[in-house]
C-alpha cells in the first residue's frame, strides 16, 4: 500500500484540511497557493470528486499562516502531486467518517449507504439526510493510515472536459490581485543603481509631505495618495547619491576561468557526487548556452503590510509564505508567531521573483508607520532591475557513435550558477533583497551547490535515453556576478535544449532520421515512446521545416514531446513559429483544459526565451534592460497555433506539468531552425544577428 502523503504526516488533523459549513458548502484548505496556473481549481475538483459533492460546493482556501496546512513552497510543479494527494486522501476520510455518522444515526450498515452531491441514501433511509446534517461538530480525527480512495473508473468530474475556473470572472472585471487591495498608505521604494551601491546622501526635505522611511540604504516613501507616493519617490531618487562598494563583477559569461574554477560533481545514481569525473572518450562535441533570463512578471511585485501592537500582518503573493514568515521575523528581530501572512494572488509567477522581497519591503515600511495598512508596489523598472534572475548556463556535450549509428558514449557537462536562492529559515544568510541594504545588514546566503537529485543546474541533465556509457556532471560556479534563483524548469531548460539539439546533430552525423535515432535509444521507455508517437501522429510528422524534442520533467514527472514548425524570413533572418504540437503524459489528468493551458503556456514562454530574451548589464552588474522594449517578450502576432494531445493514464497518479514543456520546446525550436536553414544555433536567444553570424561561419 502507498504511504500516506507527506503533507498529511505533517498535518494529520482532518479538520485542518476539510470543513463543512452549514450552508451546504465544503471548504478545502491547502498550503499551496495560486501562482496563476489554476491550481486551486484543480484541487477543488479533486475534493469534490472524492467527497461526491457538486463541484460548485467546494471552495478552496489557500496559503494563510496559522490557518492552512504548512506545505512549504509552491514550486517544482508539485502541487497536484503533493497537496492533491493529501486532499484526496483527506476527502476519502471525511466521506467515510460522515457515512459512519449517518449509519449510526439511521441504525443501518454503512456499506448500504450511497452519496450523491452530499445527500445520503440507501435502503431504509426515509428522511432526507445530507453531509451537512451530520456536520454539527468537527471531525476531531487524526489521519494515521490510508483510507481506500474512490476508484478512478467511477470518476465523474476528474478528467472531464468543460471544467471552468471560477476565479477568472473576478480577475477580468474586478479587484482580484494583491495590487488591488485597499490601503491607507501607498509606498514606493527608492532603489540604488545596483545591488553593489549604498546610500551616501539624501535630501530628506524633498520627501515632504510623504513619510520617508530610511534604514541604512533602504529608502522608501509613503503617502495616502498612490500617485503622490510615486512622484515623491522620483523626487527623492533625484536627490539621492550612491556609492558603489566592493569590486565590480568580472564579466557575466561562464567563461573559461569560471569553468576551470567550478566545482565538479559527476552524477552517481542521479546524485551529484564529490568523485573525480570519469574520462570518457568522445568524437562529437558541441556547446550550448543560454543567457540570464527574467521571470518578468506582467505585474510589478507588491505586498500589503500592517504593524499593530508589535504584530505584523502581511498579504503578498509569495510562493512560500511559511519560510517567508520565518525569514522576515529574523530580519525584523521579532517572534515568527507575531507575523501572519496571507497569500493573495499576484500576476503569473514562474519561479522565485520579487514577491518575497516586496513582502519584506512592505513590512519595513509598515513598522515605521504603526497602525496603518501599507500597500507597497514596485515599479516596472524595479521589477526588471531587481528580481532574482534565471541563471545563465553553459552546457558541453560529447558523444561517440558506433558502426550501427547508435550512441556508444555520452558526456554532458552542465556549468552554471545557483538556481536555488529562495529565502529559507535554515540558510546561512538572508535571501531577501532589502535585507542587505539595512543599517544593520543581513548578507545573502553564499551560494552552495544543490546536491539532491534533479535540482538546480543538473535538473534533467540525465538523458531520457539509454546509452551504454555516459558521464553526466554538474559544474557549480560559486561566484555569480548577479543575483540568481529559480526560474521555471531550473536547469531543465538549458539541459534539454542541449541534449535534444545534440541528439539531432548526432542523428544527422549518423545519417539516421532524427525520429528513428531517438526511438533506438528509447526502447526501455514505453511512456516516452508513446508521447513521441502521439506528437508525430498529431503533427503529421517531421515534414518541412520542423523539429522534434522530448523529455520527462525531472526524469520522473510529466513526459512531453514537442514538434515545432518554423519559417525564417530570408531578408530579416527573423525566426517565426507558426505552429507547434505538444503531446504529454502527466499520469491521470485532473483537468484536461487546465493541463493543456499549462503545457501551452510553458511552450510559449520557452519560445519567448529562446527567440528574444537576454538580460543586459552595465559594468557594475546593474541590469540595464529595465523595460519591455529592452527586454522584449513574444507578442500575439508571434505566438504559434498550438495543438495539444494528452495521454490520459487514469490508473496512475497525476504528475505536475507546469514546467514540462520548456525544455522540449527549446530543443524542438532549435531542431526546426536547423531543418529550415541547415544552421545549428547553440547560443540562445536565436536572434536574427545570431542566425546571420552562424550563416557567415
Amino acid at each position: 500500500m502507498k504511504p500516506l502523503p507527506h503533507a498529511l504526516v505533517a498535518t494529520p488533523s482532518l479538520d485542518r484540511w476539510i470543513r463543512l459549513t452549514g450552508d451546504g458548502a465544503v471548504i478545502a484548505f491547502t498550503g499551496k497557493v495560486e501562482i496563476g496556473q489554476g491550481i486551486l481549481a484543480a484541487l477543488g475538483t479533486i475534493v469534490a470528486e472524492e467527497l461526491d459533492v457538486a463541484r460548485r460546493r467546494v471552495q478552496v482556501v489557500s496559503g494563510h499562516t496559522g490557518h492552512t496546512p504548512n506545505e512549504g513552497v509552491t514550486a517544482g510543479s508539485m502541487s497536484i502531486e503533493t497537496s492533491g494527494a493529501a486532499l484526496r486522501q483527506a476527502s476519502a476520510w471525511a466521506r467515510c467518517l460522515l457515512l459512519q455518522r449517518a449509519a449510526t444515526r439511521l441504525g443501518v450498515a454503512e456499506d448500504n449507504l450511497t452519496v450523491a452531491d452530499g445527500e445520503i441514501t440507501g435502503p431504509g433511509v426515509n428522511e432526507r439526510l445530507t453531509y451537512w446534517n451530520l456536520a454539527d461538530r468537527p471531525f476531531g480525527f487524526e489521519i494515521r493510515d490510508r483510507m481506500p480512495e474512490k476508484a478512478t473508473s467511477a470518476y465523474r468530474l476528474v478528467g472531464r472536459d468543460g471544467q471552468r475556473r471560477a476565479d477568472i470572472l473576478a480577475k477580468a472585471t474586478a479587484a482580484a490581485f494583491v495590487h488591488d487591495c485597499a490601503a491607507q498608505l501607498h509606498a514606493r521604494m527608492v532603489r540604488p543603481p545596483s545591488l553593489r551601491h549604498r546610500l551616501i546622501e539624501l535630501d530628506v526635505d524633498v520627501a515632504a509631505p510623504g513619510r520617508l522611511v530610511v534604514d541604512g540604504s533602504f529608502v522608501a516613501v509613503a503617502h495616502p495618495v498612490e500617485f503622490e507616493a510615486e512622484r515623491l519617490a522620483q523626487r527623492i531618487a533625484g536627490s539621492a547619491r550612491w556609492l558603489r562598494i566592493g569590486s565590480p563583477p568580472e564579466g557575466f559569461d561562464i567563461d573559461e576561468s569560471r569553468r576551470e574554477t567550478a566545482e565538479a560533481f559527476p552524477l552517481r545514481n542521479g546524485v551529484p557526487s564529490p568523485v573525480p569525473r570519469r574520462q570518457v572518450a568522445t568524437t562529437h562535441r558541441a556547446v550550448y548556452r543560454r543567457p540570464f533570463l527574467m521571470h518578468a512578471s506582467i505585474a510589478p511585485s507588491a505586498a500589503i503590510a500592517v504593524w499593530r501592537d508589535g504584530a505584523l500582518a502581511i498579504e503578498c503573493s509569495s510562493q512560500g509564505i511559511e519560510p517567508l514568515r520565518q525569514v522576515v521575523a529574523l530580519v525584523l528581530g521579532i517572534d515568527p508567531d507575531a507575523i501572519e501572512i496571507r497569500h493573495v494572488p499576484g500576476a503569473g509567477c514562474y519561479g522565485h521573483n520579487g514577491a518575497d522581497d516586496a513582502a519584506l519591503d512592505a513590512a519595513l515600511v509598515a513598522r515605521a508607520v504603526p497602525g496603518h495598512r501599507v500597500s507597497l508596489k514596485w515599479s516596472r523598472e524595479e521589477e526588471h532591475g531587481f528580481e532574482p534572475l534565471g541563471p545563465a548556463m553553459h552546457v558541453e556535450m560529447g558523444a561517440s557513435l558506433d558502426a550501427e549509428g547508435r550512441v556508444s558514449s555520452w558526456t554532458h557537462d552542465a556549468y552554471g550558477f545557483t538556481h536555488v536562492a529562495r529565502p529559507s529559515p535554515g540558510a546561512s544568510g538572508v535571501d531577501l533583497l532589502s535585507a542587505r541594504f539595512l543599517a544593520e545588514p543581513f548578507e545573502p546566503t553564499s551560494p552552495r551547490p544543490a546536491l539532491g537529485p534533479e535540482v538546480g543546474i543538473h535538473r534533467n541533465a540525465l538523458p531520457i535515453y539509454s546509452f551504454p556509457d555516459q558521464e553526466v556532471t554538474k559544474h557549480f560556479v560559486a561566484d555569480a556576478p548577479v543575483r540568481t534563483s529559480a526560474l521555471r524548469g531550473l536547469g531543465a531548460q538549458g539541459n534539454v535544449f542541449a541534449i535534444e539539439s545534440f541528439m539531432d546533430e548526432l542523428a544527422h552525423s549518423a545519417g539516421v532520421d532524427p525520429v528513428e535515432f531517438r526511438r533506438r535509444h528509447l526502447r526501455h521507455d514505453p511512456r516516452a515512446l508513446a508521447v513521441l508517437e502521439a506528437v508525430l501522429k498529431s503533427s503529421g510528422g517531421l515534414t518541412g521545416h520542423r523539429g522534434l524534442a522530448l523529455a520527462r520533467y525531472k526524469n520522473r514527472q510529466c513526459c512531453a514531446a514537442v514538434v515545432a514548425e518554423v519559417s525564417v524570413d530570408p531578408e530579416t533572418a527573423e525566426i517565426r513559429v507558426p505552429r507547434l504540437w505538444i503531446a504529454a503524459d502527466a499520469g491521470r489528468v485532473i483537468d484536461p483544459d487546465g493541463l493543456t493551458n499549462q503545457l501551452e503556456g510553458g511552450a510559449v514562454q520557452a519560445l519567448s526565451w529562446c527567440l528574444k530574451e537576454a538580460v543586459s548589464f552595465d559594468a557594475d552588474g546593474a541590469v540595464t534592460s529595465r523595460d519591455w522594449s529592452s527586454y522584449p517578450i513574444l507578442r500575439f502576432s508571434e505566438a504559434p497555433e498550438i495543438e495539444t494531445v494528452l495521454l490520459d493514464r487514469p490508473e496512475l497518479d497525476p504528475l505536475g506539468a507546469g514546467e514540462a514543456t520548456v525544455g522540449p520546446t527549446s530543443g524542438a525550436l532549435a531542431n526546426a531552425v536547423f531543418a529550415a536553414t541547415g544552421l545549428r544555433i547553440g547560443d540562445l536567444p536565436m536572434t536574427p544577428d545570431r542566425l546571420r553570424e552562424a550563416a557567415a561561419r
Partner: protein, 147 residues
C-alpha cells in the same frame, strides 16, 4: 469636480487630480474601479487599457482631465461576446493581462466584427501576456469572429 461617465454610470473626481494619469484616478478610493491594472506605466504592456468614447487608450499615461465629459469603459463594463468568450474558454492563466486584452479586443470587434486571425493578433500586439495564454486567447476570439 471633473465629471465623466464610467461604464455607463456618472462618476467624478477632484479638480486637483486633473494631471494625474487616469489609471491612478480610476483606482483611487473615490472612483474605486480596480479592473484596469498597472503593468509598466509607459505604454508598453497594455494592462491599463480602457476605452475613451470607444477609442482604446493607455490609462497609465493619459491625464485624467482628458476624460472630462467623456465615457470611459473598462473590462468590468464590457459584458460582451468578446469578454464572455474569453472567460468561458478559460483563455487566461494568471488573469492580470486579461482586462486589458478584453478592452483591446472589444475595440477591434466594434470596428471589425469579423476580423481574421492575423487582424486579431495584430490588434492585440499592444497587449503583453507573460503566461503564454496567446494561443487560447486567439482561438477564443476567432470563434467570436465566426471563423
Amino acid at each position: 469636480m471633473i465629471r465623466f461617465r464610467l461604464n455607463g454610470e456618472a462618476a467624478q473626481f477632484d479638480d486637483s487630480e486633473r494631471d494625474m494619469p487616469l489609471l491612478y484616478v480610476l483606482r483611487s478610493p473615490a472612483v474605486g474601479e480596480m479592473t484596469p491594472k498597472l503593468g509598466c506605466g509607459i505604454e508598453q504592456c497594455g494592462t491599463c487599457r480602457v476605452l475613451v468614447d470607444g477609442e482604446p487608450a493607455y490609462a497609465c499615461t493619459l491625464p485624467a482631465g482628458a476624460v472630462e465629459g467623456r465615457h470611459v469603459e473598462t473590462a468590468a463594463g464590457l459584458d460582451t461576446p468578446v469578454r464572455r468568450a474569453l472567460i468561458e474558454s478559460n483563455a487566461t492563466q494568471c488573469g492580470y493581462c486579461l482586462p486589458g486584452i478584453i478592452v483591446a479586443a472589444e475595440a477591434l470587434f466594434r470596428a471589425n466584427p469579423r476580423p481574421s486571425g492575423a487582424e486579431i493578433a495584430t490588434a492585440l500586439d499592444s497587449q503583453l501576456c507573460r503566461c503564454g495564454s496567446h494561443p487560447r486567447v486567439l482561438r477564443a476570439l476567432l470563434e467570436v469572429a465566426g471563423r
